[in-house]
Subunit: 330 residues, 2 copies
Amino acid sequence: MKKFINSVDQVLTESLRGFGAAHHDIVRVRMDPTFVARAGAPVKGKVALISGGGSGHEPLHAGFVGKGMLDAACPGQVFTSCTPDQMVAAAEAVDGGSGVLFIVKNYSGDLMNFEMAADMISGDQATVVTNDDVAVEDSTYTTGRRGVAGTVVVEKMVGAAADKGADLAACKALGERVNKATRSMGVALTSCTVPAAGKPTFQLGEDEVEMGVGIHGEPGRKRVKLEKADAIAHTLMSAIDGDLKPKAGAPHLLFVNGFGGTPSMELYLIYDAARRYCEARNIKIARSLVGNYVTSLEMQGCSLTLVALDDELIKLWDHPVHTAALRWGV
Amino acid sequence: MKKFINSVDQVLTESLRGFGAAHHDIVRVRMDPTFVARAGAPVKGKVALISGGGSGHEPLHAGFVGKGMLDAACPGQVFTSCTPDQMVAAAEAVDGGSGVLFIVKNYSGDLMNFEMAADMISGDQATVVTNDDVAVEDSTYTTGRRGVAGTVVVEKMVGAAADKGADLAACKALGERVNKATRSMGVALTSCTVPAAGKPTFQLGEDEVEMGVGIHGEPGRKRVKLEKADAIAHTLMSAIDGDLKPKAGAPHLLFVNGFGGTPSMELYLIYDAARRYCEARNIKIARSLVGNYVTSLEMQGCSLTLVALDDELIKLWDHPVHTAALRWGV
């Protein structure tokens, strides 16, 4: 295992300490229980948004804490759910009196822990579960579809609405609406290595890719020979397209998400291929996002996400955001 | 070679086409000769900043085209200098009547081609050469020190000054001043694969790292066994520190640059280690940047950069910037 680490036990603590110091204008990192809060939280009168889950997907979620997005993120150990005490401490720290909305990716461990936390919290709270991955219906750690890169879009849209004063019920309804308008699917060219395991999560042959891979390396739809980028983009987009059934001529967000180890050059090449797929089918791309946002450590690969937009969602997407990983308008 | 590509010949064209479409609000991509110009260029009365060099280092340079930074970038083939016709076409497209400043990383091929371009341009022009890499004095493609991640800092500072109305001579003088205040050194955990070569640029043993590696995989100071992150950060920082001789208590920028394949989690862990080095030596960190900015395709590794700041440089760093890869204040 070749990684920049001092000891397996300290990876998360040292990385979070670095993150907190580098972005002290945006966040505060708290330890034991561990969470990352927006600097200046709680914001009085605003619904507080909290997400969390296993680490190793950075910048998700701590990189999305800040004005116009999350109020707190609870990082678990690598690829391991955060615990209820983290969520409870985060909720107590950032609840501004208008309730807390938990945004949870659909993994059984995450759901169980967020439900336990919800039972322990006295204030108003609600939960949105994301499940945008069209690859498989059930998976290693999931009943139903997995929550993957589309979670960033839910966090951005609901974060904007909360910033504009939407109440808890409206934030929950919006989160569920955005999740329903969002579909993703990924492909892995390589595995990744969890520090505590010390060896690759799975094995792929020199010429193989995992089509429909999960963000923890869970199996996808099939293992196939490496194809040209256009063919890979076609496989992912046609699965998304067939499931979302986009309305011809309506605006969409096209999001190419790198898994951590794929060069920017290749992500833009895949974006070009996915965009040509959309243009041929009259799927209008009104907004775009390309980069490493929901990663799997150093995995080489990417996911594509398509989101059906409307005027309200475009305004929420464009709303100012100031986080470590997404920033515009401020 | 496992990459998202259609054909080796089309990698650059398709990637740039995707980049241009994804960031149509910021840039325009021109082909034959190929360059990326700021949307709305030329800006009348502003000094135009142009950089360029081999591709494979993305987001450098095209990701830094936009308000407050570059007016144009000339991407060569992967790890290959751009050609004089690209630079001439870019200069003609973005010169707003106040001259053109070329920002060139110190590689022999780049220098030769930029000098040829300068001879072919009729308008006012000047050049700043960056050479921030303390690892080695001469290298595979370089006489003198290599220009590496510090180039981003030069482009940011001079871009801000040009945006505020500095003339060509002032922009050149500032660029040289920032370059002199900047030192970098990198380390590779793995090699990278140039698409046209189809195999890794160099070989490293399972437990080896290349200390002082160049951004094209050029040899560094020594090949050593993988050490703990604190020891690696200490080696890089002490080389930088010994060369820059930072003034105790004066403000500095600490920049951790990922080479493309290293997870965010590890980059922040290295930032934490480098910051502790600085704190122990009373090197004050006033600004920070952590992420993939000057990459070597999918190479795992990172570089550290330290820049001696002052009030003027802090204001220039904080000045609004709107590019694909750096954005704040707008």
